[in-house]
């Protein structure tokens, strides 16, 4: 509107100044965030001869061969597929199980409700060093060692508490009007959870999807504890092999790391749209 006028008044100038201030602040922070990614990609395109010597921002010769080497030597093909399977199943499992529980904790009344909820929240706070010993012994007894299923269950457990807490916080904020309406329409608990609660909690679900996807995607310690077969191992195991004590091939390592970052970046890009979509439901949430 200001532009139509031609003559800006004080407030408009102030607004513009404020906008400039905000943008330069945002830009500086954004640059510090972009730098490591840029540096990683840059290093991944150099060769062993130039990585320590070449100080130019953009290397003179780009070695895309590093990516091929990382993919082939790191056996990334199979690891990549495994990681996709683990991430997809753990995340969908967590969303399913955690949202059911969080909805119950937020909306349903039953004896021991608070007790169970606080057990979950407390568990999130108590780290269990050395729990790998009882965990392995138990998984072995259950016959779940070296199975995808066992690993997936363990990973679901890791993300459960935090997801329940976050989802419950969002369910608590929702006004009950819509649920009441749904109930009048003859919806049961499950129906309300599915048709009303879940769509409304979309921003929160997007957050826990990102959070858990990142967790699963970057996990390698449990994987190497519970799995034997290399064909069941996730991507991070391939990365760990590059980082072996004696290996110093930074360009290939960086290429491997770049490959491993791309999918998670994609998940984030897909999910953050849902965070924005929550906007449309603003009228009924508050």
């Amino acid at each position: 509107m200001a532009k139509l006028n031609g003559n800006w008044n004080y407030y408009q100038w102030a607004d513009c100044g404020k906008g400039f201030g905000i943008h330069s602040f945002l830009l500086i922070v954004a640059l510090t965030c972009l730098f490591p990614l840029f540096w990683m990609v840059r290093s991944s395109l150099m060769s062993m001869d130039t990585i320590f010597a070449d100080t130019a921002l953009i290397p003179a010769r780009l070695h895309f061969a590093n990516y091929v080497q990382a993919w082939v030597d790191g056996h990334f093909g199979i690891y990549f597929i495994n990681s996709v399977i683990y991430t997809a199943s753990v995340v969908s499992g967590i969303v399913f199980i955690a949202s059911l529980a969080a909805y119950a904790f937020s909306r349903l009344r039953f004896p021991g409700r608070n007790f169970f909820f606080y057990v979950f929240v407390l568990a999130m706070m108590i780290p269990l060093p050395g729990s790998f010993v009882p965990l392995y012994v138990m998984m072995n007894k259950l016959g779940l060692v070296n199975t995808r299923f066992g690993y997936i269950l363990c990973m679901i457990n890791l993300g459960l508490s935090m997801s329940i807490l976050l989802l419950k916080t969002f369910f608590d904020k929702m006004l009950p009007d819509l649920e009441d309406a749904a109930r009048l329409d003859g919806c049961g608990r499950l129906g309300i959870w599915w048709y009303v609660a879940l769509p409304l909690a979309r921003p929160a679900i997007a957050v826990i999807v990102i959070f858990n996807a990142l967790n699963v995607w970057n996990e390698y310690i449990l994987a190497q504890l519970l799995l034997n077969d290399p064909s069941l191992m996730p991507l991070q195991r391939g990365i760990m092999l590059f980082q072996g004590v004696y290996s110093v091939n930074y360009p290939v390592l960086m290429a491997g790391l770049t490959i491993s970052v791309i999918p998670i970046l994609l998940v984030y890009l897909l999910m953050q749209k849902h965070i924005v979509k929550g906007l449309s439901s603003g009228a009924i949430v508050g």
Partner: protein, 307 residues
Amino acid sequence: MKAKIGAFPYSSGMEALRCYAFIIPAVVIFGIFYIYPFFEIFNLSLRDWNGIDLHKTYVGFDNFRELFHDRIWGQSLLNAGFITFIALTLQNMLALALALACDRDIRAKNFYRVVFFIPPILSEVVVGFIWRWILNAGSQNGEYYGLLNYALSKLGFQNLAHNWLSNPDSALICIALVHSWKGFGWGFLMLLAGLQTVDKQLYEAARVDGAGSWSAFKNITLPLMMPVIWVVMILTVLGSMQVFVLILSMVGQGLVYHTEVPVTRILSAMTGTNRFGYACAMGVTFGAILVGVSVAFRALAGKMKPA
């Protein structure tokens, strides 16, 4: 708490059972994979065990008694507390400021949304690697290798050039700042998600009433955002108190005891000095401390809620 109005009343046992069906999957998985190891760990914390022996000697609360007098453990808690303090203040304030900025209709907000989340996506190893290079203290004939010292010297602040990571005065501060830098994206994301659920009409109404942006923030945004802010704070506390991979990748096994945190103590007790029982006692104590801190926060958040 008003939300309970809309809740289902339970009248019979059958109704309660139907409610339980919602939490059963979570409880079962949790019981097997968390509660069981939890009791095992507690059991181990009462024993003297090197991690290998099939026989684990019962020693009562000896490990806890020793822990109580362990000065290094105390220092590690203080160090983690310092990192957490920086994260709670600096990191969360930054996250909130950025979330508020991106919640408005500004240009390129999608760009910012994506970019701010890059540090959390990168692995601690990469982050440590890059920051070690930036903070490198080495020099030859006055030319600094590290980016920060190099920049300082080129800008004429040679005397500010510093041994960032090997100086007890700056090592922990550097770690805390890098940790905050790596972590603010999470707070940003969750706060942004929370802001999306704040009804924009409320702002309109406030503007009509002549409220400035600060008072709108204080009277509308903050109260409505309190539950989310609480979650973000709790997660910040938990994440910062348990930081360790970043420390390992920035300063190796640490600068004397100046960069020691509880988790690095637990790890070194476990595989460094082979005192598994002691490590488990540390874990249990540490858990109790975290629970205490979280409960205190909860109480604080409850108090700050408008009546």
